[in-house]
Each structure stands twice: as structure tokens, then as C-alpha cells.
């Protein structure tokens, strides 16, 4: 539809190879990939929707639900992983009852895992709303979440 034609126009001659770039553009504009958008891309590029969904879910960068008010990004790069980002992540999952790529039902939190934020000296690193928290452990993570919750009220 016309809604996405502006994006499609930018990749006129690229053909199917443009899939990821188009999805990135759509996510940049909408904040996440709506089903409507993916269906449009499928028709435009003549790629089955199942294939696009397959490719999009392969990468951590694509979301299928809108970001929450507080978007939590947990680094899962090598250094952070070694320093215990897994435990931090499980703590968040336990506390917010959402897994990576999801948004809580009330829309207050969303969670994403990323590969290296370039702050390995502070590992494990968590970013929330532009603030970088270093040397996070499960306990510290709980405090961060509580603070974010209180901010809301």
C-alpha cells in the first residue's frame, strides 16, 4: 500500500536482496514490524511471509511488538556473557515475566538482548532509556527495575 511505498521506492532495483534493509527502515519508522507491514513487503518482494518471518526472527534486531515505555537492552556479548549477563537476563525475565523481544502486557517494559555495546570494561552492561548501567548483577538489576517502576508512578 501507499503507506510503505515511500520506503519501497528507495530500494527500487535491489530486488529481494533489499529485504533486511526494508525491514530496518520500517522498524525505524514504526518502532517495530507490524504484520501489515510484513505482508506488504511479502507482496512487494514476492517473498513468502513465512520466509520473511523466518529471516526477521533470526536477527535479534527485529521486533514484532511495540517497545515498552521502558526499553531494557541487555548486552550478551562475549565479555558480558562471561561476566554473568545470563543471570541478569534471567532475573529480568523472572521480574518482568517477558522474554527477549517481548513487551509486557501493560506496555511498561520491553526487553532486548544485544551483542556488545562497546562497553566491555563495565560488563555486564544493561542500558535503559539511554542510561548505561555497568557491573550489573541480579540484585542491582532488581533495583534498576524498581527505580523504573517508581518513575512511572
Amino acid at each position: 500500500m501507499d503507506k510503505f511505498s515511500r520506503i519501497f521506492e528507495r530500494f527500487l532495483n535491489a530486488g529481494k536482496d533489499a529485504l533486511i534493509s526494508i525491514l530496518q527502515e520500517i522498524q525505524r519508522e514504526q518502532g517495530y514490524l507490524t504484520q501489515e507491514a510484513v505482508n506488504e513487503v511479502a507482496v512487494y518482494l514476492q517473498i513468502p511471509t513465512s520466509r520473511i518471518y523466518s529471516i526477521a526472527t533470526f536477527y535479534d534486531q527485529f521486533r514484532f511488538s511495540p517497545q515498552g515505555k521502558n526499553h531494557v537492552r541487555v548486552c550478551n556479548g562475549t565479555a558480558c556473557h562471561v561476566m554473568g549477563s545470563g543471570k541478569v537476563l534471567s532475573e529480568i525475565v523472572k521480574e518482568l515475566k517477558i522474554s527477549a523481544g517481548e513487551t509486557s502486557r501493560d506496555g511498561s517494559f520491553s526487553l532486548e538482548t544485544v551483542q556488545c555495546m562497546g562497553a566491555c570494561s563495565l560488563s555486564p552492561v544493561v542500558e535503559t532509556g539511554g542510561d548505561y548501567h555497568g557491573n550489573v548483577n541480579p540484585e542491582k538489576m532488581r533495583t534498576i527495575i524498581d527505580q523504573l517502576r517508581n518513575q512511572e508512578d
Binding site: Q46, S50, Y53, T57, F58, F64
Partner: protein, 574 residues
């Protein structure tokens, strides 16, 4: 180019360009495979086919590695065997330990590998897959917990069926196979053909069973339960009961069905004669009125759904004649019920089909007459085999029987429906009679009998030069439709079957058979056609009688059966 390579200390001849696996198999050497499928692009995903090559640090997957001149291969060295064992152990580590309750117990490639590789100990106990079953489709059930991610279903759905209803979702240890947005199969582009079931090595895909429904009906005294079986079923059961593959066991099957408790046993082929007659008249009317457009066949429910999804512009070109399953169901619930003075509500009709899409077709809303569904349950050939086993019928030691009157006659043309090309051949025979008033000199049309995915045949009937085509596999149907869209006009009739080879390799047939077995089925059908006396549908006396009765009813103004249906565009995700 040919050259020698060394395998297990012996020289064998290799061809340039082939994979190591192809070379080994050609020389009679077997290597276990799991994700590999003959005729499909290799993925090298499962690694079970690894072999050891001198000078290479890692084991190489034979299915995807091209053979090279310097190679010295060991196919069963201790290192190779250990690696294969470990792969199976790892696959089993998160696989549900439910073999005894599994649909595929005794016919599972994972089970077979565990046996062959002598896996006797649980060394790794991982977290079990806890994915939920997908019950949403009327025909196919997905159990992703049992999926080992070999990707065979994904490839067959993409490459032969060309609908790509399923694909891999996510990655790593969170990977599953599912539809777009991981919704139910009913919301995807799935055409219910069941080819994914045919290639699944484990119990992750199987049909939605109607066995319980049928048994419940059989035990209900107020219901008369009748059954009709499709032309391909009686040549597809032989292997299950120890006969040579392709042997036609219609007589035994009829006897077995009576022993199970079905009141009347009919052959769907009777209705196939009706379908051929109707399709040929529709075609003949169109040709005689000077219409040059193409007509597509309508017997395959997978193809119909495919057209409704992807080619709504072609729906007007599809013959409106119902499929034999639906016509037979209707004949039983209408004509037979009237004759026997039984209220159709007290009849329960079971059809036995080589097909999972027939389960979908049976529940389409068009397939009812005055609120009565044509068929109440659809069993696949596989379900039939297990029903016969369940009732303890010894197929080797029963006497053959015949189908029940008044639908006990059929032409051999009707049985050709089982094979790709058969519908076109049967229609041509009757069409020729309708146009010229004479039978064809030679009823056998060799041009339509090969196993190629596309066959074409041109013939002059009376003053008309007519073209016929057969496509098997929906990927080929796409190519054909594009030709029609681009203005190709020399074809008057195109037969489409969703499954390659036709119903003899339908998605409801027994799993795990070789290409040879499938060919034996086609051969059996063709041999039957050569031998029989009634070889054209319009000469089936039972059909003539039924048609006369119908005409009389029409004149009387009493309600008549409806052998025609309609199609509508489906809004699906591409």
C-alpha cells in the same frame, strides 16, 4: 568425467560434480542420512552423513560435499561412528521420551538411527522440548516438540508444493519450525496436501485422525455407516500387509471393511465416472460453443485451495464439477438413502482417501446438501491400515468380496484418477465420444503416461484441434498458469494434481516407501486399465441409470443432487 577415489581401502568410480553421498550410494555403499532428500538441494544440516577424509581435520558431510579426485574416504571408521552416535544422542536429549505413544512408533527414522547406531544409554539429558501442538488445521497436526529441525518439510513445502507455509523461526536452541507469525496452520498458505507428513522423519507431523469418530459411529446402533474408498487406496495398501508393492487388493479390502462393520462398501470410482462424465460434458459444451479458453481439472482439493489462495483470477477457468469424494458422498446420502428409504441423518459416510486435503475438502461449506454433509469422516490410507490392524483382520487369510449394488460397477477410466495424467486420459476418452459420437481407436494415451511433471497431448476430435496438459506438483502448476496468463491458448484442458505423481503418492499414503513402490502402483493401475472391459466412463451402466434417474427427478421437480460447486478467493498471507 570419471575418476577413481578410495573408499574403505577400495577403489570406486566417481563422477565429477556429484556429491560424496551420491557417489557412495551409486556404488552400493550406504551412509545414514536424516536431513537429505533425493532430488532436493542439500543443506548439510544434520551431520549424520559425515565421513572421514584423509587430510581433512574435520569430518565432512557427504550429502553436500562434492567428490574430489584425491579423496580417501572412510565411511565407518571409529571416529565417524562415534560422531554419528553423538549426533543421535544429542537429538534424543531434548526429544520427548514418548516413543511408545507416538504416531510413528515403529516407523521413525530417528528411532531407526538410534537402533542402527546402537545407542543404548542416555548420556545427555537436556531440557525437553515443550512446544505446544498445532491442532488448528482440519487435516494436518503439527507437534513441534518432536521436531528435530531437519527442514525436510520446509523444503518440500517450498520446492515441490511451492506454497512455503512453514519455515524456520528464530535460531539456535530456540529454533522451531512454524508458520508466519507462528500462528495455526489453518491461517497459513498451507493447502493441506500432506507432503510434509510424507517427508517427516519423526512424529512431528501427521494427519488429524478420524479413527475415533469412525469407531464411535460404528458402535452407534441408530447409524448406518457406509464407506467408499478412492481408486488409489487398494494399490497402496499391499506393503502394509505383506503383499508385493502395487498389488491391487480391492477384493480383500472390501472384505476387511465389511468385517470391521461397515454396512455398505462402495468404490469412489463410481463417482469418478460421474465426475469424468460431468467434466467432459462441461468441456464439450464449452468447445462446441466456440469457447477457446482453458479449463482446469477440479478433483484435487490441494490444487483448488492453492488456486483460491494464489490465483483467484484462474478460479473461473476451473471446472465446477465436485470431486469424486464429494459426489460419492452425495450419491450415498441422496440417491441411496432415497432408494433404501433411510433418512440421510441416519447415514454416516466414511471416505478412504490417499490424501490429507480431502479432510479439508469434506468440511468445506459448499460440500453439503440441504444441511447434510456429503461425507462425515475421511480416513487416509495410513489410518485405514491401522484400523484394519486394530480390528485384527488377517488380510492374508480372508476371501475377496465385491462392492455393493447399486454402485458396484465402474470403468477402468475411473481408476486412472489415482495417477497423475489419469484424469486427463479419462476425460479425453469420454470427450471424444461426446464430440465425435465414436470411441477412440486406441484408448491408451502414452503421451500422458510418463512420470514427467509436465506432459502435453494434442489430438483432433471431429473438426476441433484440441490440446491437453497434465501437471503434477504445484510448483509446475505455477509455471503452467503463468503461460496461460501470458496468453497461451492451445490448451483446452489442464489436469492439476498437487502431489507429484498424483494420488498414488498422496499425503495420506503409507510413509517411507521407495520410488519403486510408487511406480509399482502406477503400473498396477495401468495394467488394470488394459485388462478390463468397461474402459470409458460413459459406458458404466450404473452411471447411465443414475443419470437417467436424475433427469427424471429434475423433470418431476423433486430435489436433485448437485454435482457442481463454486470457488472463492481466499485472503491469505502470501
Amino acid at each position: 568425467m570419471l575418476f577413481n577415489i578410495e573408499v574403505n581401502n577400495k577403489q570406486i568410480i566417481a563422477k565429477k560434480g556429484e556429491t560424496v553421498l551420491e557417489c557412495l550410494n551409486r556404488n552400493g555403499l550406504n551412509v545414514p542420512t536424516l536431513c537429505h532428500m533425493n532430488g532436493f538441494s542439500p543443506t548439510g544440516a544434520c551431520r549424520i552423513c559425515v565421513v572421514e577424509v584423509d587430510g581433512k581435520n574435520n569430518l565432512i558431510p557427504s550429502c553436500s560435499h562434492p567428490v574430489e579426485e584425491w579423496m580417501k574416504i572412510k565411511t565407518h571408521s571409529p571416529r565417524v561412528i562415534k560422531a554419528r552416535q553423538q549426533i543421535v544422542e544429542l537429538l534424543l536429549s531434548n526429544h520427548p521420551d514418548e516413543c511408545l505413544y507416538c504416531e510413528r512408533n515403529g516407523n521413525c527414522e530417528l528411532q531407526d538411527l538410534a537402533i542402527d547406531l546402537n545407542v543404548r544409554e542416555k548420556r545427555f539429558s537436556g531440557k525437553k522440548n515443550m512446544h505446544k501442538k498445532d491442532h488448528a488445521s482440519p487435516s494436518i497436526l503439527r507437534d513441534p516438540a518432536k521436531c528435530i529441525l531437519c527442514g525436510r518439510c520446509v523444503r518440500v513445502c517450498d520446492e515441490t508444493v511451492s506454497v512455503s507455509a512453514i519455515d524456520f523461526i528464530r535460531r539456535g536452541n530456540r529454533m522451531v519450525i512454524g508458520t508466519a507469525y507462528n500462528k495455526g496452520l489453518n491461517l497459513s498458505t498451507c493447502v493441506d496436501c500432506g507432503q510434509c507428513i510424507m517427508v517427516c522423519p519423526t512424529g512431528a507431523l501427521y494427519e488429524k485422525t478420524h479413527i475415533k469418530k469412525v469407531m464411535d459411529a460404528l458402535h452407534q446402533p441408530s447409524l448406518q455407516v457406509n464407506v467408499h474408498f478412492s481408486p488409489s487406496v487398494s494399490v497402496s495398501l499391499a506393503e502394509e500387509f505383506g503383499f508385493r508393492s502395487g498389488k491391487d487388493i480391492s477384493g480383500l479390502l472390501i472384505a476387511a471393511l465389511r468385517k470391521i462393520g461397515f454396512a455398505k462398501v462402495f468404490e469412489t470410482a463410481f463417482a469418478a465416472d460421474a465426475a469424468i462424465y460431468e467434466t467432459a460434458s462441461q468441456l464439450s459444451d464449452s468447445i462446441k460453443s466456440g469457447n477457446k479458453s482453458t479449463m482446469f481439472s477440479s478433483c484435487c482439493p490441494g490444487w483448488i485451495k492453492f488456486a483460491e489462495e494464489f490465483y483467484p483470477d484462474m478460479l473461473a477457468h476451473i471446472s465446477t464439477v465436485k470431486s469424486p469424494q464429494q459426489i460419492m458422498g452425495q450419491i450415498i446420502k441422496e440417491s441411496y438413502a432415497r432408494q433404501q428409504k433411510i433418512h440421510p441423518e441416519n447415514l454416516f459416510t466414511v471416505s478412504i482417501m490417499p490424501c490429507t486435503a480431502k479432510k479439508f475438502e469434506a468440511q468445506r461449506e459448499e460440500m453439503t446438501l440441504r444441511g447434510i454433509t456429503h461425507n462425515d469422516a475421511v480416513l487416509t490410507t495410513r489410518e485405514l491400515a491401522s484400523l484394519i490392524k486394530l480390528y485384527g483382520i488377517d488380510m492374508q487369510n480372508i476371501e475377496p468380496e465385491q462392492t455393493d449394488a447399486p454402485y458396484n460397477l465402474r470403468s477402468s477410466a475411473a481408476r486412472l484418477y489415482a495417477v497423475s495424467g489419469g484424469v486427463a486420459e479419462a476425460v479425453i476418452r469420454t470427450l471424444n465420444f461426446m464430440i465425435t459420437g465414436n470411441e477412440m481407436d486406441n484408448l491408451k494415451i502414452n503421451e500422458l503416461r510418463s512420470s514427467a511433471s509436465r506432459r502435453e497431448y494434442f489430438i483432433k476430435m471431429g473438426r476441433y484441434q484440441l490440446g491437453f496438459a497434465v501437471v503434477s506438483g504445484l510448483a509446475e502448476a505455477r509455471k503452467m498458469i503463468n503461460e496461460i496468463r501470458n496468453g497461451r491458448s492451445d490448451l483446452q484442458f489442464i489436469e492439476v494434481m498437487a502431489c507429484e505423481g498424483g494420488c498414488i503418492y498422496g499425503g495420506g499414503q503409507p510413509i517411507g516407501l521407495s520410488e519403486k513402490d510408487i511406480k509399482a502402483r502406477a503400473k498396477a493401475i495401468y495394467e488394470m486399465d488394459d485388462k478390463e472391459t468397461i474402459r470409458v466412463s460413459h459406458k458404466n451402466p450404473g452411471l447411465t441409470e443414475l443419470m437417467n434417474k436424475l433427469k427424471k427427478q429434475e423433470v418431476d421437480g423433486s430435489p436433485v443432487m448437485n454435482f457442481r460447486t463454486s470457488y472463492s478467493k481466499r485472503n491469505i498471507l502470501l
